[in-house]
Structure formats: structure tokens, C-alpha cells
Symmetry: none
Subunit: 213 residues, 2 copies
């Protein structure tokens, strides 16, 4: 059962939205708030999976709220509901950690689909926003392309052995090198991919197609 939070300062709209969402199978509104402040307060005691967030709320505004939520509750997926449809606004909220965007004048039946996709895929954007998304993805990919990271053969060997769940000691034995050397390789990989731990190296390699499992 998906636990939905709903934040919108228009009570009538909010209440009907509650009814709509509750009519969908597999999800339920567990939290309602009129503004960001109330929302943050209630989140302290209520666990939610997905937040439907209005962008025109009075009081603490939607941008600020989105930022706070994604900082304090990164596990909550945020679907922004708004009347706005301008490229810049969209980009702006996306940078705040929002995983979905839904304009209020879109067909309400699509909302269920949006929530489910957001939950399954981790993101949802309306069809017509594809180009914007692509823009953003491209621009962030360009940053990565400017600093080409490659793994050496030895490093790849080590990645593979780590995927087989060998620890540093065992890898050293298999490769006939000191465990310290294995550590050094691991550290180099973390440094060059900017990871805090080796899981970051693995995901980096997967995302950059150095690796497939």
C-alpha cells in the first residue's frame, strides 16, 4: 500500500484530490497539509512514500518545501502538481530533488498512472516534458564526459572479483598481490569516480557501461 502525502493550500482542490487518490487501488492518502510548514511538521510523525506537492502554496513556498523534503526525507518521492508549464520553472524544481512533474490541467485519470510510475521507476514526467528532461540529462552527461574516467585492466579485475563478493584479502590471494595493493586499487577507483564507498564505484561502472551484470 502506497502511502501518499498531499500538500495544497486550496482546501476544495485538496479534499477532492484526497477522494481521487483514495479511489485508486493500492494507495492511500495518509497525510494532508495546507502548506510547507504544516507538511514538515506532520512528516515528523507520519511515514509517507510519495508526496504530491503544489507549487503555488502560500506560506513557505513550494520550491523551499521541495528542497527541505528532499534534504530531510530523501526516500520520499515528490510529484509536483502545478499550473505552471515553463521550462525554467520545471528545471528549477527538478534540481531540487523532485522526481516527477504533473500539470494540474492534465487529465486526472493520468494521476494514478503518474503515481505508480513514480513509485516503480523512481520518476515520472508528462510526455511533453521529455525534451526538457533530455536537455537536463544531456547537460549533466556533458559534465561527466568532460572528465573521462576509465578503469584500467587491473581495476576491472578487481571490480569483477568484488562483485563476486570476495573481500580484499581473498582478492589479494587470487591475484597474488598484497591485500594492501588491493586496497590501493579500490581507493583509486573511489577517488576517480568520486564515490564514498565501493558500491558507488559499481553503480558508476554500471551507469557508464564499463560493466554489466
Amino acid at each position: 500500500m502506497l502511502r501518499i502525502a498531499l500538500s495544497d493550500d486550496h482546501q476544495l482542490f485538496r479534499k477532492s484530490l484526497v477522494l481521487l487518490v483514495n479511489s485508486f487501488e493500492g494507495m492511500q492518502v495518509v497525510l494532508e497539509a495546507a502548506d510547507g510548514k504544516e507538511l514538515l511538521e506532520k512528516l515528523k510523525t507520519t511515514r509517507v512514500d510519495i508526496l504530491l506537492l503544489d507549487l503555488q502554496m502560500s506560506g513557505m513556498d513550494g520550491f523551499e518545501t521541495a528542497l527541505e523534503i528532499s534534504k530531510h526525507y530523501p526516500e520520499i518521492k515528490i510529484l509536483v502538481l502545478t499550473l505552471l508549464n515553463e521550462k525554467d520553472t520545471i528545471k528549477k524544481v527538478m534540481k531540487l530533488g523532485v522526481q516527477g512533474y504533473f500539470t494540474k490541467n492534465t487529465n486526472p485519470n493520468e494521476l494514478k498512472n503518474a503515481i505508480l510510475k513514480l513509485n516503480d521507476q523512481g520518476f515520472y514526467f508528462e510526455e511533453n516534458l521529455t525534451s526538457i528532461v533530455q536537455d537536463i540529462i544531456d547537460s549533466s552527461a556533458a559534465v561527466k564526459r568532460s572528465q573521462p574516467v576509465t578503469f584500467t585492466e587491473r581495476e576491472m579485475q578487481i571490480v569483477h572479483l568484488i562483485l563476486k563478493e570476495y573481500n580484499g584479502n581473498e582478492i589479494g590471494k587470487r591475484l597474488n598481490i598484497s591485500p594492501r595493493t588491493v586496497e590501493k586499487h579500490k581507493r583509486n577507483l573511489m577517488d576517480k569516480t568520486g564515490s564514498k564507498n565501493f558500491i558507488g564505484v559499481i553503480t558508476y561502472a554500471l551507469l557508464h557501461d564499463f560493466l554489466s551484470i
Copy 2:
């Protein structure tokens, strides 16, 4: 009517076993195979309830067969027939998802009883094996592995946060739970996926499509 499959490489024994089983009320042999390969082939077109599986088959051996069957046809209950009676062997097959064990030198009249009990209770073991069974059921994570592994919502949250390279402490803070609880979730995940470390959990989830990055 119980649909029985029978796999044994000794044709004489197999044929007489067919007669024996067919003489029992309420059950019928619907499939015969000399080895694991043939068995798997025939299972594609024949539905069976219970499989009587010999452990000394040539070709693909019984262990491997049991593993394949329980993986692809978890609904089929497997009763192993064997001459072996050693604790280790018994444990080994049980970990493969076998629900019953029957030594060939036991009274044949007991076979009907074994099949019926296996069907009704979901398991059957000869009296003297009870302690071994209890041992394994209590202690073995491998038993769990033979059942379909699923991640709970909370576990998925934690997987996602770990992918974001948060450490246990940080995850605890973000989710408002104790770091110890996070550790517990991680350990449960490692247990249920049979991993030595969390990288194993990640790859398991990726391979089983719980997760995409």
C-alpha cells in the same frame, strides 16, 4: 487425482515403481524420465503435482535436478528416493527445496503414505529424520532461498539510500530510526539473498529486477 512424475535411471526399478504407484488409489504416474534432462523436457508439457526423484541418476545428477525443478516449478513437491542415509546428503538435498525424503530400503507400503502426507502437509520425512529436519528448518537461510525472495518496502528504501552512498548512520537519521535497525534490515537482506556483503544484495536486486539504476 494426484499427478505423479517419476524419475529414476534404473528402468526395472522405475517400471515396477510405476506399477506400485498406480496401484495406489487417488494417484497416477503421468510422467517417467530416466534422467534430469529428460525430466525437465517432459515437464514443459506435462503438469505434475508430485515428483519422485532418484538421487543416483546418471547424467544431470539429482542434486542439480532438484535445484532446477524447485526453481522453475516451485509448486511441484519433490520426494527424494535414495539409498543414501547420511546426514550431510540429506541436508544437502533439503536445501535445494525438496519437501520429502524416502530411503529405498524402507517398507514400500509406506510410500503411499509418504505421497499422501507430502500432498496434505506439504512435507514428509521418515520418522528418524525428524531431528535433522528441525535442525535445518530452524537454522538454514538456504531454505528461505528456495522460496521466492522479495524485498519489503522498508528494505527497498534502504537499498535506495545505500545506492546513494549514505552510510548506516546517515540512513538512520534520514529515516528516523536507529542505526541498529538499519543494520538489522541490511543483515536481513543479506540473509535472504545469501550475500556476504551488501554489494551482493545490490547485484541480486538488479538481476531479479527489483531494482534498476
